[in-house]
Amino acid sequence: MKILIANRGEIAVRIIRACREMEIPAVAVYSDCDRDARHVREADQAVHIGPSPAAQSYLRIEGIIEAARRTGADAIHPGYGFLAENAVFARACRDAGLTFIGPSPEAIGLMGSKTAAREAAIRAGVPVVPGLEQPFAADASAAEIAAAGAGVGYPLVVKAVAGGGGKGMRTVEKPEELLPAIRTARSEAGSAFGDSAVYLERRIINPRHIEIQLLGDHHGTVIPFVERECSIQRRHQKVVEESPSIAVDPGLRRRIAAAAASVARSVGYTNAGTIEFLLDESGAFYFLEMNTRLQVEHPVTEMVTSVDLVQWQIRIVRGERLDIDPERALSPHGHAIECRIYAEDPDLGFMPSPGLVRGLRPASGPGIRDDGGVGVGYTVPVFYDSLIAKLVAWGGSRPEAVSRMRRALREYQVLGIRTTIPFFLWLMRQPEYSAGEYDTTYLDRLLASRRESFNELDADDEDLAAIAAGLDAYLRASAAAAGQGTPESAALWKHAARREALRG
């Protein structure tokens, strides 16, 4: 077996790691701006597939299949995003004689449509969020739209039929906001997924986002795992995920997991997938959608269940039988939290902060897992998602995991660009977060009322920052005057001086 990874960044690195552990050669693909990306450096082979814009490289099906052919790869792992939930791609792989590491094109086609997936859930007897069963026609009139909105009831959510990750999604409080919201959601969905169809769902009040990871093999076994809690979202985008959820007790866990498994079984689902639910304050849960791929947040499940999901994806397409004990899959061992480290400036409204990574020291030590996607010297490009690493903390209990996360966030150094690390340091200190008292609206509410910088230092640290900036200028000026050039050469010089001293 040889696997081509049709992706980039941290998820490509994650898949390369799984391949290496299984002793399977891994082939990377890259666009112009990713020549020196980490996934290229760590793969066994790497193939250039086009210019930087994703539409001309990572989204170009023929280019990727040609790369597999050229390198002798016989399987393709799509990661998440890009072509991961594209049934046309999955079918093109099949037609080219390549194993697609994921569900069948039919399952992707069915569950990838949010409206079709809702129907599947209803058929499987699982409650869904009240809403439209069909997307709007492209030429739906304002009157039709207004009537549909009134039928669903306000507040409601405009959602793209395709894709995921919170893109093409808008909350609407009042009827007059509906048309503009549909316009923006359509344009975002069109540019993100190439499909601008949208539909409406009732907005559940103060819901938690709870999701069930599952694996299905080709022998009829579907295993659901302990839930992930993904309610910490900024504008519908997950930024922190945990497992287990503080809001889910073992009884509820079994019921949600059983619901998820029954939806998956009803459509003959194979490989890794996730079913997302909203959980309301009364403990009722509603099917939201299915993601027919590996999720960004899969590590938290791995850390509390001992299961390597990526390795299992590969084993499943090889025809292996799932031999995971279903009881253990639902019995979390400790608690795991993931923070998504984005190249964004939290003090500028989470504006992307692309640029040269001049230094990198991920956190490590007890209970810490870093799934990084960039290396020193790499320029985070403007063309893709700004996720540069996922930091995961594990603890015997949730408070222990939170403490470790705080420690690790302080330890983590990314130099040259802005990241969301200071934001997470702040979030991990919020009393509601520490107490686990939050829903999907929590973070946006909190951020709306906040004006202070996330990078505030206490007075003593601010003094030391000023002193450091001065000393840095002083040392550079002195080194230049002494003809030593950069600090790098100065370090060598210092080293030589030390050696001399030791001899003397």
Binding site: G349, G359, N455, D461, A468, A473, A491
Partner: protein, 169 residues
């Protein structure tokens, strides 16, 4: 050597005198610190402050706009310039006199919405322009409170990184 450091919106005067063996007498706005400093890596400084040896590792790296430094410690990063405005090293982010500030595009993208009009009063961190880039709509915010002096873009404008979108005075 004496430096004027603009950091976190304040100007600090840092006078440095080397004493012996990696030790420095540093006057910060007239207040004396005995600093033991060691280079660690290309951008790092390990500082020990005073008798109590307060220890901080500080990273000082070039930022994404010219002349700007990013100073990181204790998990936070703040911007600084050294003798910045005086030596004329300020680049794309220099809006002119002390009273003016610009909003610049941090990356290439397309202007989706302009949320203010010339002459409007804006509060610090108020959203002023929305730019679509890296697959997301991004709201650019006012760096300080003031009045919108000029707007250089309209919805639909394609902008490069560093382009001045708006001036606040």
């Amino acid at each position: 050597m004496t430096f004027e450091i603009d950091i976190n919106g304040r100007t600090r005067t840092v006078a440095i005198e080397k004493t012996v063996g990696g030790k420095y007498r540093v006057s910060l706005d007239g207040q004396l610190h005995e600093i033991n400093a060691a280079r660690v890596g290309v951008y790092g400084l390990s500082l020990l402050d005073g008798q109590a040896g307060i220890s901080r590792e500080v990273q000082v790296t070039p930022g994404t706009t010219r002349g700007e430094l990013l100073v990181s410690l204790s998990g936070r990063t703040i911007a600084a310039t050294v003798n910045g405005r005086r030596t004329g090293r300020a680049g794309v982010d220099a809006g002119g006199g002390d009273g003016e500030q610009t909003v610049v595009a941090p990356m290439p993208g397309r202007v989706v919405r302009v949320l203010v009009a010339a002459g409007d009063e804006v509060a610090v961190r108020q959203g002023v322009v929305v730019v679509e880039a890296m697959k997301m709509e991004n709201e650019l915010r006012a760096p300080r409170a003031g009045k919108v002096k000029e707007i250089n873009v309209t919805p639909g404008t394609l902008v490069e990184a560093g382009r001045v979108l708006l001036v606040i005075e």
